[in-house]
Amino acid sequence: MRIIIIGNGAAGNQAAQTIQNRDPEAEITILGAESIPFYSACALPDYLAGWIKRDQLFLKSSLNRHRVEIRLGQAVEDIKPDRQAVTAGGELLFYDRLIIASGSRPVLPNIPGIGMPGNFVIKSVHDIDRILAHNPRRIVVIGSGNIGIEAAETLEYQGCKVSIIEMMPRIMPRLFDEFPAMLIRKILENHGIEIHTGEKAQEVIGNNRVEGLITDCREISCDAVIWAAGVRQNTELARAAGIEIGSLGGIKVDSQMKTSHPEIYACGDCVETSDLLTGKPALCLLWSCAKAQAEVAARNCLGEKIAYPGALKLVAEDAYGKPCMAAGLLEEELNKKELKIIEQETENTYHRILIENERIMGIQAVGSMEAMGPLLYLMKKMVAPSEIKRIINSPVLLKNMPWMLTIDKYLQ
């Protein structure tokens, strides 16, 4: 079987690996737009901070290169579903199954001064190389999501003066509720990062080079602006080929990761799947989701019938040595009437568990991640808190599941 994978990222490589493990005879072609080998995008902030070397970014792959052809620097020009072919580098490549893992790209707003040198995004190794070559000292980070916070922290670690501009009233607005977000904000501010929430960038000023940023409240002088205000799915290829696009802007797939076209599968950042907890359409731009989706897509490609259970939002963050994690839904996304919030605060830690209708719907922790793994698993399996209590109270059951004891104190 001839399989073409568009995209040389986490999803593309995981799909190739899964296919090769199950069917060593399959002929796989990976088409990567970037001209560098497979690397981990999640480690880019660590590389920016200098904690890891450049060569540590590149991941070793155990693909059998006799059966896998990796074409780097060859962007796919178009997909022809009726001929079962794609064009890349002027060449027509035929496939039996196509996996689209084209990923995403950062959003840049259309404001004056965005094209000047000194505007950066954090998406690929080249972006980091550019930032390091620019050697900025005074930086404004736009957006306080996962990438924004990590970028700010690592640049502060390098000795830069960093400000964060966030449009919403709190930092990490899509990950944390108000109180834990405030705790993280305090940690960051104690280390000298300026945070301005509820502001919007209006204009980048400068003379051939970034010299400042104007928001609707103030003007900040800086020599670099890092845009971390979200990402957009790369769906142009799929759209041009007539593949259905979902309401949130990702390639629409069913639970088997199949697109509207029977021979074409999609996985990774570019798809729109359903949320594990609510079942509603959701975008999930995480490494672990991409890998899980790629595995499902690859196995379905080979004729197995595997369903993807749905994406769970899960973020682990390190705020100056304090581990923070958030999973599932936020308080504002849940039904107020049936919501029960368990909060526990000590001097250094904070835990918040949201329970709706006897189901754990959200977990947020700051300062300690102890016992959060088992709790997350119970959340994924939709185990009711009363059931957890029953296991803890029964010596026979507890003997086989001793880790339940550690999560007991968080559910009091």
Binding site: A43, I52, Q56, L59, E295, P323, M369, P374, P402
Partner: protein, 168 residues
């Protein structure tokens, strides 16, 4: 090919914590139990001790969660091992582990799991009560079965003795 595994007998364990100390000494050269790869949890209500340790799952969630592809199955066996050179300490595998068995090593700033000491676990050697054993899964299942059967048989034997009026 099956591999030997760690087994913990809760009825023999008195929670002395020597296994944790030798584990940390072997792996981190420290004399404390905070970074032990094997955790002993205390059930205060029933005064019992249980162990939590990497069970080397067949389809390990930590392998899927790893951002750097550093966790893999050792070729030729089914042990989950880590290539710590590439580990960035993001703790994603710690969150993915449903058994809370991945341990964050604060000295190296990396996440580690039980590696069975390369086939000769020190915790088993130093356990004073023989609560920890290192055995093949099949043998351990046999032992459990024998134990359960003999317990039941012993109980019924007691009944017989009581019935016949003999002193035990």
């Amino acid at each position: 090919m099956t591999q030997k595994r760690l087994y913990h007998n809760a009825s023999l364990c008195n929670g002395c914590g020597i296994c944790q100390l030798v584990c940390t000494l072997e792996h981190c050269r420290q004399w404390n139990h905070y970074q032990s790869r094997i955790k002993i949890v205390n059930d205060t209500e029933r005064n019992a001790f249980y162990s939590v340790c990497c069970s080397h799952c067949e389809e390990a969630p930590c392998i899927m969660a790893c951002l750097m592809n550093t966790i893999y199955k050792e070729p030729g066996s089914d042990i989950t091992v880590r290539d710590l050179y590439h580990c960035i300490g993001c703790r994603a595998c710690e969150l993915a582990c449903p058994f809370d068995a991945a341990v964050f090593d604060v000295i190296q700033e990396k996440v580690v799991n039980c590696d069975l000491c390369g086939g000769r676990p020190l915790c088993v050697e130093y356990c004073p009560n023989h609560a920890l054993t290192y055995d093949y899964p099949e043998d351990q299942a046999d032992k459990n079965r024998n134990q359960a059967a003999s317990q039941k048989f012993g109980a019924s034997l007691l009944e017989v003795f009581k019935f016949s009026g003999k002193e035990v």
